[in-house]
């Protein structure tokens, strides 16, 4: 008779456990790297990264597969022609203020061995300027009137007007595609073609396999004309949850991780691992408290409280932003001057942000008629309390923490902040519909400051607060066109000064993205514009 004892299943479990744990752990390969990332690339093909495909996952992978004509240099200067480094184009010259000529590097090859030619560039910009294919790119490339080939290796860009970012527009938004593989396909057919899953690029790495939801494997491009990468195998391992990414890193299952997010304890845990180091890099994000200029209940009317600049200035001066930033980000962020993320070159030379001044804040509020007449700790005027709703998305741990600190600091000033954490789509809906008093927003910016027109001009597409000062519009237009000031930084500083003076928002934080990388890697350079772009120059220590 079979007798069941507790030892029977326990022994089986122990045996199974021994089997699975007895096998050697993570495979090790000398010249490989496993990078943790949060987003699954779906279509890393230039001209196809529109709408949902304009994701960081696609853009970062595309930078490994496809080379641009020129790359942004370490200064990230997008104005003028000097801040760029040659890539597919070995040089560029100007015929006049409206014509830019690129000479392609004759060594450049597609991963199938075919030379990269001017025809490829012309073909790519035809697709990129097709509104049915790439409406986002059409808007970004609107000043380019034509792209033509002169022989095999020369490409001529013509513009509708003179402006400082002509070279940036020609090189940053669309990397060339292989015309010899794609020109026989109808433009709308590329997205459904096998080219998306098996792209042939000109970049340092080629796509080996894409395991959905798990990882993307890249192999070094043996024919890469700027030199075969030292790291020959790259795994982009996908884990959408930040805790899972951190666990994968700390358990030794990965070599690098993008954007270690606060709480600061995450950084400390990484620093405690002697095999890892943190690499802070200027981010493209800026966070701010955006004041609605219009009444949420009646958008045709000014906001009953926030249309008064004295209240907006009082809130700005009432906050100790340096303290807020230190509390949430530690040393990995700064208080910005104006809506400027660390990636924007215009922040250099800009003034520093104002510090907390409670006396001035109280004086401004009193001048605006706000006082605590009933002694309940909240200011009031004509029987109306100084209460404001603060909306933010639940998805952002940083903003959740920041909102509570803001609430507490403003409470001491007599302003009652009602923190409203909203599900992300609901937050977007409230924001775009103008249904808020104060919005704790964060914007992701391109390296070009011209994008500021979207949020801070009267007709800006993302101007959710309906802030409008024609003088700012004029200053931005002049800065974009490079008019007036010999140094473009000065023109942009004028823009920032005016925005700060109007106080349409309190600019709270401009963080660094903190990357974690194993110490065994050498020559580690992480580009703010595209973090893993220079992976081809990394090497592994002996």
């Amino acid at each position: 008779m079979t007798r069941w004892t507790p030892r029977t299943p326990l022994a089986a479990l122990v045996a199974l456990f021994s089997l699975v744990t007895g096998v050697t752990g993570q495979s090790k390969h000398e010249n490989s790297i496993v990078i943790l990332t949060g987003q699954q690339p779906t279509a890393p093909i230039p001209t196809l990264m529109e709408g949902q495909a304009a994701s960081a996952g696609n853009l970062e992978l595309a930078d490994q597969l496809f080379l641009r004509l020129a790359g942004l240099g370490p200064t990230l200067l997008t104005a003028g022609d000097r801040g760029f480094v040659p890539l597919l184009a070995r040089s560029w010259t100007r015929r006049d203020s409206l014509t830019l000529v690129f000479d392609l590097d004759p060594r450049a090859r597609w991963q199938d061995g075919v030379p990269v030619t001017a025809r490829d560039v012309v073909f790519t910009f035809e697709r990129a300027r097709n509104p049915a294919i790439a409406p986002r790119l059409v808007a970004l490339l609107r000043h380019i009137t034509s792209v033509t080939a002169e022989g095999e290796r020369r490409v001529v860009f013509r513009y509708s007007r003179a402006y400082p970012e002509q070279l940036y527009d020609a090189t940053f938004h669309a990397a060339p595609l292989p015309a010899h593989l794609l020109d026989s396909m109808p433009p709308e057919g590329v997205a459904r073609s096998s080219f998306v899953s098996q792209p042939v690029g000109s970049g340092p790495y080629r796509l080996v396999r894409n395991v959905p939801g798990q990882f993307v494997e890249l192999g070094a491009n043996e024919r890469f004309f700027l030199g075969k990468p030292s790291i020959t195998r790259v795994i982009l391992r996908i884990a959408s949850d930040p805790d899972a990414r951190l666990n994968l890193l700390l358990s030794g299952q990965a070599d690098a991780m993008d954007n270690v997010v606060p709480p600061l304890d995450n950084m400390r845990r990484i620093q405690a691992d002697p095999t890892l180091r943190l690499v802070p890099v200027p981010s493209n994000t800026v966070g701010f408290l955006l004041f609605n200029q219009k009444d949420p209940g009646n958008p045709s009317q000014p906001h009953p409280i926030l249309s008064d600049i004295r209240v907006r200035r009082a809130i700005t001066l009432g906050l100790d932003r340096q303290l807020l930033v230190r509390a949430v980000f530690g040393p990995y962020a700064e208080v910005p001057y104006g809506p400027v993320s660390p990636i924007l070159w215009i922040r250099h030379g800009a003034p520093t942000a104002e510090r907390q001044n409670l006396g001035e804040a109280r004086r401004l509020l009193a001048q605006a008629g706000w006082s605590d007449s009933d002694g309940d700790g909240v200011l009031d005027r004509n029987g109306v309390s100084l209460r404001l709703g603060l909306v933010l998305p639940t998805t952002s741990a940083i903003r959740r923490q920041m909102a509570l600190l803001v609430q507490e600091q403003l409470r001491q000033l007599g302003i009652d902040i009602d923190v409203q954490r909203l599900e992300f789509p609901v937050w977007i809906e409230r924001r775009s519909g103008g249904k808020f008093d104060v919005d704790l927003a964060a914007t992701v910016q391109d390296p070009s400051p011209s994008g500021l027109s979207q949020g801070w001009t009267c007709s800006g597409g993302s101007n959710a607060a309906k802030y409008c000062n024609p003088r700012v519009d004029s200053l931005i237009e002049r800065a974009v066109l490079g008019l007036g000031k010999p140094d473009p930084r000065q023109a942009w500083t004028d823009v920032l000064r005016q925005i700060e003076a109007d106080a349409p928002a309190v600019f709270l934080y401009a963080p660094s993205y903190v990357y974690a990388v194993k110490r065994r890697f050498r020559n580690v350079t992480i580009s703010p514009a595209s973090p893993w772009q220079l992976l081809r120059e990394w090497s592994v220590a002996n």
Binding site: G51, A244, V426
Partner: protein, 328 residues
């Protein structure tokens, strides 16, 4: 006669299941549209879309149509096996679900297997040894297991076993550096190693519940006269326990099985996230956050189908196990 009765019963139950599925589908579709939030919101998270982009995307996903028209289009597509294209991923929903289903089936199946082997066996042992030290210990352990939040347990296991002891992978489903030439056995062991922690996390709670149900059901059956008769006939304890008592104590557990089946898809969202397990749960959660209507409908329909199927299978199992249950 019995055959005709059975096929009639199956037909009736099948029609009821189809009706339940159709009702669930309709409610789900309109509830999702009624919820606040725009499906294009996630796309415009970092960079606002131009009006031209918004118009193009709305037309592409049929969002510019009236809701009733969208429903008709959806049902038409469903009948053709087409669930539409995910707004988030830009790929057919059926392809996305098919990619993620194996991982979910593997994790859910492992949990069910552990649950209904270890859980049942421990529950029976407890009942047979009622009041003894082993029963008391297992009762305490099951209550602790049942009360333990899976999100906490998952984080602790990943930290302890994955990071501190480095006995098992802290997350993921396979080692991406494993050679492409690795044998099937090597790959299987690799997946098994990755499976242990998420499966254990999910199993602790479910096993505890099964143990409690099974123990209670067994205790009731063990007091019935036919068990006394079996013992009086001199049958061995094992035969009395497993052949006579256990079979009659299975009904509550079958009900529990029917309830667990869909929960293992929907209830593993957190565990899939913490362990970066590439299953349906995390895909469905992302669809909810992004209001990805087509993907959300696809995932929800899968769950609805599982619920209906589980109910159907439970009824069939009841009828098969107990001749007293009429096919009615």
């Amino acid at each position: 006669m019995v055959g005709r009765e059975l096929s009639g019963w199956l037909l009736r139950r099948g029609l009821q299941a189809a009706a339940a599925f159709a009702i669930a589908l309709t409610i789900l579709f309109f509830l999702m549209r009624a919820a606040p939030g725009d499906p294009l919101s996630r796309i415009s998270e970092g960079r606002p879309l131009s009006p031209a982009e918004v118009a193009t995307l709305r037309a592409r996903y049929g969002l510019d149509q009236p809701v009733t028209q969208q429903f008709v289009s959806f049902v038409g597509g469903l009948l053709r096996g087409d669930l539409g294209v995910s707004i988030e991923y830009g790929r057919p929903v059926t392809a996305l679900l098919a990619e993620r289903l194996p991982a979910t089936v593997l994790l859910g199946g492992s949990v069910l297997l552990l649950n209904f082997t270890v859980g049942l066996w421990l529950g029976v042992r407890q009942a047979v040894r009622r009041g003894r030290r082993e029963d008391r210990w297992l009762t305490t352990a099951s209550l602790i297991g049942y009360a333990m939040p899976s999100f906490w347990l998952g984080l602790v296991l990943a930290w302890l076993v994955g990071i501190q002891l480095r006995l098992l992978p802290a997350a993921g489903m396979q080692d991406p550096l494993l050679s492409l030439e690795a044998s099937f056995v090597e790959r299987s062991i690799d997946v098994l190693r990755h499976l242990v922690l998420p499966a254990l996390t999910l199993s602790v709670v479910s096993i505890a519940a099964t143990m409690r149900y099974q123990r209670t059901a067994m205790l009731e059956v063990l007091q019935l006269p036919f068990i006394t008769t079996a013992r009086a006939k001199g049958l061995p304890d094992t035969v009395v326990t497993w052949r006579h008592a256990w079979r009659n104590a299975l009904f509550p557990v079958i009900t529990l099985f029917g309830l667990w089946l869909p929960i293992l898809v929907t209830g593993s969202v957190f565990v899939e996230s913490v362990f970066a397990w590439p299953g349906l749960g995390s895909l469905a959660a992302a669809a909810v956050w992004g209001r990805d209507y087509p993907l959300l409908m696809g995932a929800s329909l899968l769950v609805a189908a599982l619920v209906v199927a589980a109910g159907f299978l439970t009824d069939v199992a009841y009828a098969m196990l107990d001749p007293r249950v009429r096919l009615a």
